[in-house]
Symmetry: C2
Subunit: 190 residues, 2 copies
DNA sequence: GTCGCCGTTTGACATATATCAAATAATTAT
DNA sequence: ATAATTATTTGATATATGTCAAACGGCGAC
């Protein structure tokens, strides 16, 4: 999972002016440093924590026929979590790997559920995040469904240049649904 | 948009035992019959209504380079709406076309927002629907990202046989991200 | 029933992308 | 710094899928 939006950020900023909420949240949350290569969550495990990236980068991926398919990239202020696993308590379909040393805020999914129940504004943030995430997925789906490899790469470059700058080709390639050789050739030609 | 789940259905059933809610809802909703070929929403317009299918079938699609790309199929009890357009009041990226004569329950997005504010259980249904929709999109994304055309067709056949039974090939093909000739050949070989 | 219209199938060929292999280039460890 | 590892580029070839065109089939209008 990932995705943040201006409106949501604002709502959160306002919400955190409430001292009761702030205290409850910081009691539940814990800052942790993760190292490059660490796994925040492994495919098949149940996702029990919600990770908010304060700095660094994380990649979501799953294994198919022995090779890794990248599903998402997360950077500062993005949320890392398997939505499916966290809400249904089923095995996660994907793993999350730390791409560079990252500072992360960790809250357990259970505690998060309590906080949402206790503070309606957090429930509202959750709902808006779900909407934004679904809309983001719709857009990504459309780009995979009928754009050529070149179009998909150019769209990524336009919308998410920080991915192209920071992440190795093989991960970008599988994110775009192509091989790294093809991606390399697309970049060479321009 | 589409997607319904057992848990959500149950919650709705319970909610409708509340007479106040039931009255408020039925005052806001209106049943309408649509004919094959009707457009519930046209690409570029703002989505002002939420349509719940009571019977029949609807297809979502958008135009790309002059050809139609199918994004979804909806059947009885599915909800038809452009999530992006309805929540952000922006032009809809997709159209919705009625595939066969359909009975539809229509509520305005504005009224729906009021009802959600008035009845927390409806807000809960909305949130759960967003989660379910996002998870459904994640799954569909994974299937488009790295499955072959044959695998995608077989997955569709397994998970949503009613689509394959009821819908013409050209729509299924663009839904799978392939041409109808390729789909025809996949079916011929088995 | 016959005609005409769609939707589907089939064929020949073009093209994008994958695969396998090797050569460079860039990072990391020693 | 040098070696060792890892990432990227490039080349030759294979394959899946697309494109264009024609034939076939079912089904409603008349």
């Amino acid at each position: 999972m990932k995705y943040q939006e201006a409106i949501i950020e604002e709502l959160l900023t306002t919400a955190f002016q409430d001292e009761t909420l702030r205290n409850a949240y910081y009691e539940a949350a814990q800052e942790k440093m993760f190292k490059k290569g660490d796994l925040l969550l492994e495919q098949g495990q149940i996702c029990r924590y919600c990770y908010t990236l304060l700095s660094g980068a994380v990649r979501g991926f799953y294994l198919k026929d022995g090779r890794e398919i990248t599903t998402s990239f997360c950077f500062a202020s993005d949320v890392v979590m398997s939505l499916e696993s966290a809400t249904r308590l089923t095995p996660s379909p994907e793993s999350f790997e730390v791409l560079e040393d990252s500072l992360v805020e960790v809250v357990s999914v259970e505690k998060l559920t309590q906080l949402r129940a206790q503070f309606p504004v957090l429930e509202k943030v959750w709902t808006l995040s779900m909407e934004a995430y679904a809309i983001w997925l719709e857009e990504r789906l459309a780009s995979l469904q009928f754009a050529t490899a070149k179009e998909r790469y150019e769209l990524l470059l336009e919308r998410y240049p920080q991915i192209v700058r920071n992440v190795q080709l093989s991960h970008i390639a599988s994110y775009l649904g192509i091989t790294l050789e093809t991606l390399s050739r697309i970049r060479a030609k321009g």
